[in-house]
C-alpha cells in the first residue's frame, strides 16, 4: 500500500524517533507503522533513526554473558523459530492495521457515537487508545480539544478542520493547544485511525455523556 506521492502531512521527527527507540505507547506505534506502510518518505526517515540505535548499540560498554550463553543460544536455534502469524490476506488496509482488526474494513465492528459518526476501539495497551472513526460524507466529529496528543491518520476519503485538509495517507498531529472540528469531505465517507494518550475533551454537554458511554 503506497500512495506516497499524494501525502502532504507527515509524522513529526519526535514521533519517528520515539517509534525507532521503541518508547511510544502501543496505539501510537500502530498509527506510525500504518503511516510508514503508506509513506516511503517517513519510512526512510524512520529507518535512518534506527541507524542511530545501531550506532548506540555498537558503542555500548559490554556486559559479560554466562559461560554457556552461546551453547544455550544454539540450542534455542535448534528448536526452530516461531512462525509469525501472517497478516489476513486480501485486506484493503495496510498490514499492521489489518492485524489489529483481524481483517479488512468489512470486518470492523462499528458502534454509532451520534450524528452518523461510528467508531471501533482497537485493543492496545492502556497508555493510549486507538480507534477507527467512520465519518459519513459531509458529517463532522463533534468539536473537541485534547488533554494530551492526538494523531489522526486518514485511511479513506478526506477531512478538513480549522488547520488544513487531510486526505488518504495524511496524518494530523494535534497537541493540547488544538481545538478542532474535523468535517468529512462531501462525496466520500471518511475513515480514519485516531489515537490519543488522554481522553478527548468535548465542548458541548451531550457529547460528554456520549464520551463516558462509548470510551471516546
Amino acid at each position: 500500500m503506497n500512495i506516497m506521492n499524494k501525502i502532504t502531512h507527515h509524522l513529526s521527527d519526535q514521533l519517528l524517533i520515539g517509534y525507532s527507540a521503541g518508547t511510544l505507547p502501543e496505539a501510537f506505534n500502530l498509527v506510525v507503522a500504518t503511516h510508514l506502510s503508506m509513506c516511503d518518505e517517513c519510512r526512510a526517515a524512520a529507518l535512518s533513526y534506527d541507524s542511530i540505535g545501531g550506532a548506540l548499540l555498537q558503542e555500548q560498554p559490554t556486559e559479560d554473558l554466562g559461560a554457556a550463553a552461546l551453547s544455550k543460544t544454539l540450542a534455542l536455534i535448534a528448536k526452530g523459530s516461531k512462525a509469525a502469524a501472517p497478516a489476513p490476506a486480501g485486506s484493503d488496509l495496510p498490514d499492521p492495521l489489518s492485524a489489529y482488526i483481524g481483517g479488512g474494513l468489512n470486518d470492523v465492528k462499528w458502534r454509532p457515537i451520534g450524528l452518523g459518526v461510528r467508531q471501533a476501539v482497537l485493543k492496545t495497551s492502556h497508555a493510549a487508545t486507538a480507534r477507527l472513526l467512520y465519518i459519513p460524507a459531509g458529517a463532522a466529529v463533534p468539536d473537541h480539544g485534547h488533554r494530551g496528543m492526538e494523531l489522526t491518520l486518514v485511511l479513506k476519503g478526506a477531512f478538513s478542520d480549522e488547520t488544513a485538509r487531510f486526505a488518504a495517507g495524511d496524518v494530523e498531529v494535534a497537541g493540547e493547544d488544538l481545538h478542532h472540528k474535523p468535517v468529512a469531505e462531501i462525496g466520500h465517507d471518511c475513515i480514519c485511525l485516531a489515537v490519543t494518550d488522554a481522553p478527548l475533551r468535548f465542548s458541548a454537554w451531550i457529547p460528554r455523556v456520549a464520551q463516558s458511554l462509548f470510551r471516546l
Binding site: 503506497n2 513529526s12 521527527d13 519526535q14 514521533l15 524517533i17 520515539g18 525507532s20 527507540a21 521503541g22 518508547t23 511510544l24 502501543e26 501510537f28 506505534n29 506510525v32 507503522a33 500504518t34 510508514l36 506502510s37 516511503d40 519510512r43 526512510a44 535512518s48 533513526y49 534506527d50 541507524s51 542511530i52 540505535g53 545501531g54 550506532a55 548506540l56 548499540l57 555498537q58 558503542e59 555500548q60 560498554p61 559490554t62 556486559e63 559479560d64 554473558l65 554466562g66 550463553a69 552461546l70 551453547s71 544455550k72 543460544t73 544454539l74 534455542l76 536455534i77 526452530g80 523459530s81 495496510p94 498490514d95 499492521p96 492485524a99 489489529y100 492496545t124 495497551s125 496528543m149
Partner: protein, 218 residues
C-alpha cells in the same frame, strides 16, 4: 566453538582483519575489484559477510563470531533499557536466535548489521519487558530475481560507519540526550527533533533504496 569465541572477545581487532579478508575473498565475486577499492575505508563493516554466511551456509563459526561481538552489547543495551541481568541474558539469547532465523531478511543496502540487530533487540525489549505488541510497517523485500547492488550496500555501510564516528564526536550533553531517548528515559514529548547527527545522506539513500524496491515489486 567455545575457544573460538574467547579469541574473538580478546582480540576483536584481529578478528575483524580475518573476517575482513574473508569479505574480500568470498563475497560478491563479480564485483570484487570495485569492492576491494572501497573496503579499505570500512574495516568495521565485515559483519555483513558474517550474516551472508549464516544465511547461505548456516555457518556456525560466523554466528559464534557475531555472538562474541554483539551479545555482550545487546545485554548491556537491554539492561540500560530497564531489564534485570537475568532477563537481559535470556533476551540476548533470544535476540541472537532471531538473528539466525531471520538472517535471510537482512538487507545490507538498507541497514548496517548493528542497526538491524538493534531493531531486533528493541522489539524483544518491547515484547518481553513492556509486554506490548510491536506493529511493524508492511514488509518490503527484494523478490527472488532482484538483489540490492553491491555499490548500494557499500555506501550504506560506509554511511552507517560515519554516523557512528559522528556520534562519538558529539558534545557530551547532546549524546546523553540521544541515549536517554533510545533507552526510554524520555517521553516522546521531551525528545528533541534535532539530533545534531548527519542523517541527511542516510535518509536520502534509504529513500532511493525504497523506490528501487517499489520498482522491482511492480
Amino acid at each position: 566453538m567455545r575457544m573460538n569465541l574467547d579469541i574473538v572477545q580478546e582480540t576483536g581487532a584481529s578478528d575483524r582483519q580475518v573476517a575482513y579478508a574473508a569479505y574480500n575473498s568470498n563475497a560478491f565475486d563479480d564485483q570484487k575489484a570495485s569492492i576491494r577499492a572501497v573496503t579499505k575505508t570500512i574495516p568495521k563493516n565485515i559483519w555483513v559477510d558474517h550474516l551472508k554466511r549464516i544465511q547461505t551456509d548456516q555457518d556456525q563459526q560466523a554466528f559464534a563470531e557475531l555472538f562474541g561481538y554483539f551479545a555482550p552489547r545487546i545485554k548491556a543495551f537491554l539492561m540500560k533499557s530497564g531489564a534485570a541481568p537475568g532477563m537481559a541474558e535470556d533476551c540476548t539469547q533470544e535476540v541472537m536466535a532471531t538473528l539466525w532465523h531471520k538472517a535471510h531478511l537482512f538487507d545490507p543496502s538498507r541497514a548496517s548489521v548493528s542497526t538491524w540487530i538493534f531493531t531486533i533487540a528493541r522489539n524483544k525489549n518491547i515484547d518481553a519487558l513492556r509486554k506490548q505488541r510491536r506493529p511493524e510497517p508492511e514488509e518490503l523485500t527484494w523478490g527472488p530475481e532482484a538483489e540490492p547492488e553491491a555499490s548500494d550496500i557499500l555506501v550504506m555501510q560506509q554511511e552507517s560507519e560515519q554516523l557512528s564516528q559522528a556520534m562519538k564526536s558529539l558534545p557530551g550533553q547532546q549524546r546523553e540526550l540521544i541515549e536517554k531517548a533510545y533507552f526510554g528515559d524520555l517521553s516522546h514529548g521531551q525528545i528533541a527533533a534535532e539530533t545534531g547527527l548527519p542523517l541527511g545522506t542516510i535518509k536520502s539513500r534509504l529513500r532511493l533504496a525504497l523506490s528501487k524496491l517499489r520498482q522491482t515489486m511492480k
